[in-house]
Structure formats: C-alpha cells, structure tokens
C-alpha cells in the first residue's frame, strides 16, 4: 500500500463562522493513486479540496502534505510545493487564446522554462496543440477540460485536486478525461477527485472515500464499492458502515 501524501486530521472548516462544513474530518490520500471523494450534496467534498488548496483556512485540526502542516498556506506556495487545483466548472479564460491560457498556468515559472513546459504539455495533448492559437472559448467541452488539466500539469504537480471533471461533458468525453487522470496516476501523480458521476469515476479510481455531514463515513477500495448494491443510497446520503481501518 502506498504511503499517504495528503492527510486531514480532525479538520474543522467552513465558509462563515456559523457554517461548519468539515466537522472534524479525518482522511488521507495515497501517493500515485486516484482517491475519489463522494457523498451527497453539502457533505463537504469540494470544501476538502478548497481547504487543502488554501482557499479556506481550517478553524482547527491539521492539514498535512508529505507530513508537513500546510494549514491556510497561500495557494501560490502550495503550487510551488507541487499541489495543483482544477476547480469545478469551466475554468478557462475564454477571452484569451489557448496559448495564453497555458502561459497563465505557468505564470510562476521563469519565462525560458515556461516555453519548454508548454511544449511538454502539448506533446501530451495533440488536439490542444492543433488549436493553440484559437480563442479558448471556441474549444469543445472535452478539449476545454484537456486544456484545464494540461494547464495544471505545467507546474509538474505531484498532486492534482480536481473538482467534478465530468460536468457538462458527454459520456465519451468523460471516459477520455478519466482515462487521462488514470494515466497521470499511473505515472506517479496523486489525484484527489470529487465526482458526481460515481460509477464511471469508481472504475478509474483506486480508493473511494464517502463523506457525510463533513465526516468520513466510508473508506473502501474503489473496486469493492463498485460492487456495492446500495451505492446509490450511500451516494445520496443513506447510512454507511463505519470507515475501514
């Protein structure tokens, strides 16, 4: 079993002082795996990613990356440490070209290095290379998601946090995006993913964490959960068996 690269230890966080979303959440994600976060709406899945990426500061508890405390650290510092975040929805800057979107992804890199990194990413995404000078808003949904992931890869992250990558994509494109994330994980990148399209996502994931009311309710290998007859009930917020281990 791979070692945990990310850990939440009794983390309490929320958007306002009176609104607690993560309620002493304890979970981890292992290096080189795809860890899938699932649960009903409001369970705190996206909040886990935002807290991990420094967009929310935990009120208590500890968030660790490679055993080091990163509570409330600035997103730019986290990017520098190797954590990239692809938020929910369309994340491109539609008025800019594909190339300029990629350049924004590497804004923290030295200019000379950026060009080489963009070439490296384009080698992985030939379709994006073909459309490099097009306006980003003219790309198809699948191409836009490829570009978002490619942009996140510019900094050669060790961890990618990705929130609902399948939103707005056709089933075929969802498979393509999942296959891309699988390939990244197989190459050693850790993926922590929130996804509503649970059955498809489970097929590509190593592990699934079910959140309920801001707490970890279930921690199982993805393959096992795929065979769970009550998967929909769990996903919609039904009672879950206690977390393993």
């Amino acid at each position: 079993m791979a070692a945990p690269i990310i850990a939440f230890d009794k983390v309490v966080a929320g958007y306002t002082p009176s609104l607690t979303i993560l309620n002493e959440t304890t979970l981890d994600a292992r290096a080189g795996e795809i860890t899938l976060l699932i649960g009903p709406n409001g369970a705190g899945k996206s909040t886990v990613l935002k807290t991990l990426f420094g967009l929310l500061t935990p009120r208590s508890g500890e968030v660790r990356f490679e055993s080091q405390r990163i509570n409330g650290m600035d997103p730019r510092d986290l990017l520098g440490r190797g954590i990239a975040f692809v938020p929910q929805g369309r994340n491109l800057f539609g008025s800019l070209s594909v190339r300029h979107n990629l350049e924004l992804g590497g804004i923290t890199l030295p200019r000379g290095e950026l060009t080489a990194r963009i070439d490296e990413v384009l080698a992985r995404f030939p379709r994006i290379r073909e459309r490099i000078d097009n306006q980003a808003s003219t790309l198809s949904g699948g191409e836009q998601k490829q570009l978002e992931v490619g942009r996140a890869l510019l900094l050669r992250p060790r961890v990618i946090l990705i929130d609902e990558p399948s939103i707005g994509l056709s089933p075929k494109l969802v498979q393509d995006v999942m296959a891309l994330l699988r390939a990244l994980a197989d190459g050693g990148t850790t993926v922590l993913m929130v996804e509503q399209n649970v059955r498809t996502a489970l097929k590509y994931s190593n592990r699934a964490l079910v959140l309920e009311m801001g707490r970890l309710a279930l921690d199982r290998p993805a393959g096992e959960l795929l065979d769970e007859p009550d998967l929909n009930r769990l996903f919609l917020g039904g009672h879950a068996r206690p977390a393993a281990g």
């Binding site: 990426f53 967009l55 997103p75 730019r76 990017l79 520098g80 975040f85 692809v86 938020p87 994340n91 800057f93 539609g94 008025s95 800019l96 300029h100 350049e103 924004l104 992804g105 804004i107 923290t108 200019r111 942009r151 900094l155």
Partner: protein
C-alpha cells in the same frame, strides 16, 4: 489583438495628427487636450477594462499630476522633464494605496470608494490655498523645451503631446501583451480561478490601479503645461465619469477603445457645437441633447462599446 490589426489605427492616428498642419490654433489645442485625456483614459482602460476594477477617481490622479506639474514648474522652477517622473511616481504610489479597497470590495462599492477619493482630492485642491491657490488656481505654467528647442506654440506642443501619447500607448501595449496582460485578464474574468493558477491577485489588483494612476498623472503634467493654468474645476468627479464613459463607449478592455471613446466624448460634442455645416447648425443649440441620446442608445444596443460592432457583425455572419 495582433500587431497586424493595430496598423489601421496607427495610420488613422497619424492622418489625424497630420491634419494639424491645416487646422486653426483652437482646433490644434483641442487635439492636444484630447491627447492629454487619452493618456488618462488609457490608464483607466487598464484598471477598468483589462483588470476589471471599477474606478471613478481617475480625474483625481489627473489633478494630482497637473498640480505637481504646476507647483514644481512655477514655484520650484523645475523643468518639465524632471516633473514628469515625479508626477508618475507620486500617482503610482497613491494608486497603490487607492487599490487597497479593491482587495475587499468590488463593483459599485469600489466605484463609490474611488469616487470618495476623487471628492477628497477635489476638496483638498480647492481648500489648501497655501499650496494650490484654491479656486484662483496656479497660472503662468511654462511650456517645455526639447534640447533647447522651445515647444511654446500650440502646434509644437501638440506634436510633443501626440508623440508622448504614442510612447505611452506603446508601453501599455507591450505590458498587455506580456504575462502581466494575461494576469490582468484573469483577474477580471475570475479572481478565484486566477488565484488557483498562482496569479498573485493582491499584487495585480494594486498594480492595475497604480499603473492606471501613473498614466493619468503623466497626463496631468501635460495638461498643466497645455492650459498653462490649473484650478480644481477640471478635476471634479464629473471628469472621472466622463473618462469612464469614454472607455465604455469605445469598448472597455479593447486597446483602441479609449481612443475611439475619447474622440466621441470630447471631440464630437465640440465639433457639433462648432459646426459651420448648414445642415448641422441646429446642433449648436442641441448638441448636448443629441450627444446624451446617442450615448443612451449606444449603451442599450452596444453595451460592449463601439468596437464590439465588429464582433456583432462577425457573429451575425456566422449565424447566417
């Protein structure tokens, strides 16, 4: 915007500038005034159009620049060329400070915060008579010389102002084509997304105000030297509204938007008012009404500004 697409505009500007050889003194003065306001509106376009930060305080920066110019050139005897960087730096620093509210509030809240700043500067210019001369202003501001050559006529000073505007536009164009330009666009479109990519939104928000303010400050020094007299009136917040209108009418976030907008907002009313064409002479009484109606119609039908006409036309062709 590509290099190729800028050529028609540059040629157009040069043609307009060359008409100065055949224009009356008062018309050349108007072209100079237009160039001065363009320096400020180009700065405002960076702040509002490219970085998406609302500002109703640009006239205050123009005023700060103008008064720094007036005070240093008349009371301290500084040459024009030494005053320019001082005005730019002071306005840059003040712009940085004024950018701080933008880190907490946006849209109309930010508009009112910057408007409040404009009112404060206006009151200071009017009431601090020991420094600014109050409502009597400061007179006898000299025109500059260039390598000993006096730029004291309207014609010579126009070409200085026009060339300086060209330099400022080139610098802003280079800035907007650099990663800074992309960061400003990202800040405008979605600050959270920008932050998730590592864009330092605090720094870029502050710089958007500071660079825009510095451009207006430079414009202010040219204004003082052009008019050769400054008083608080031209730096009232209504001038800030006029500048914002110029940016929006031309097309906010489009490089040549302020150029078109400033021409429409400053030159068009003057041309209508002074028209000697018989069919347009009724405009001498009605020019402000016609102008107001035109702006209302434009904002209703073309909220993206005059330069969005091209996009609308292209979309129409694709739709067909």
């Amino acid at each position: 915007m590509t290099v190729r697409s800028t050529w028609p505009w540059l040629v157009g500007m040069l043609v307009v500038a060359c008409t100065s050889f055949f224009l009356k003194r008062s018309d050349i003065y108007l072209l100079s005034l237009c160039s001065v306001y363009l320096m400020a509106t180009y700065g405002l376009n960076l702040t509002v159009g490219y970085a998406g930060q609302m500002s109703l305080g640009q006239a205050a920066f123009l005023g700060i620049g103008a008064y720094i110019g007036a005070i240093l050139m008349t009371k301290a005897g500084w040459p024009f060329w030494c005053v320019l960087p001082v005005a730019a730096i002071v306005c840059f620093v003040v712009g940085l400070v004024i950018g701080f509210p933008a880190l907490r509030v946006q849209h109309h809240y930010l508009a009112f915060a910057t408007l409040g700043f404009n009112v404060l500067v206006f009151l200071a210019l009017r009431n601090e008579e020991w420094l600014t001369g109050g409502t009597f202003g400061i007179a006898n501001i000299p025109r500059p010389t260039l390598f000993g050559y006096p730029l004291d006529t309207e014609f010579r000073f126009f070409w200085l102002t026009f060339a300086s505007l060209g330099v400022l536009m080139t610098l802003l164009w280079l800035l907007l084509r650099s990663p800074w330009g992309r960061a400003f666009a990202a800040l405008r479109d979605n600050p959270i997304r920008a932050e998730s990519l590592g864009v330092n939104i605090t720094a870029y928000t502050l710089f958007a105000f500071a660079i825009g303010a510095a451009a207006a400050g430079i414009g202010g020094v040219y204004y003082a030297s052009l008019v050769q007299f400054v008083e608080p009136g031209p730096f009232h917040f209504s001038t800030s509204l006029m500048m914002l209108l110029a940016v929006i009418v031309g097309g906010a976030g489009r490089f040549f938007g302020p150029l078109l907008g400033t021409v429409v907002i400053i030159l068009l009313p003057e041309l209508l008012r002074a028209s000697t064409v018989p069919a347009l002479q009724f405009m001498q009484k009605w020019y402000l009404v016609a102008f107001g109606v035109a702006v209302v119609l434009l904002m209703v039908w073309l909220p993206g500004g005059l330069l969005s006409l091209g996009d609308r036309w292209r979309r129409g062709r694709v739709g067909q």
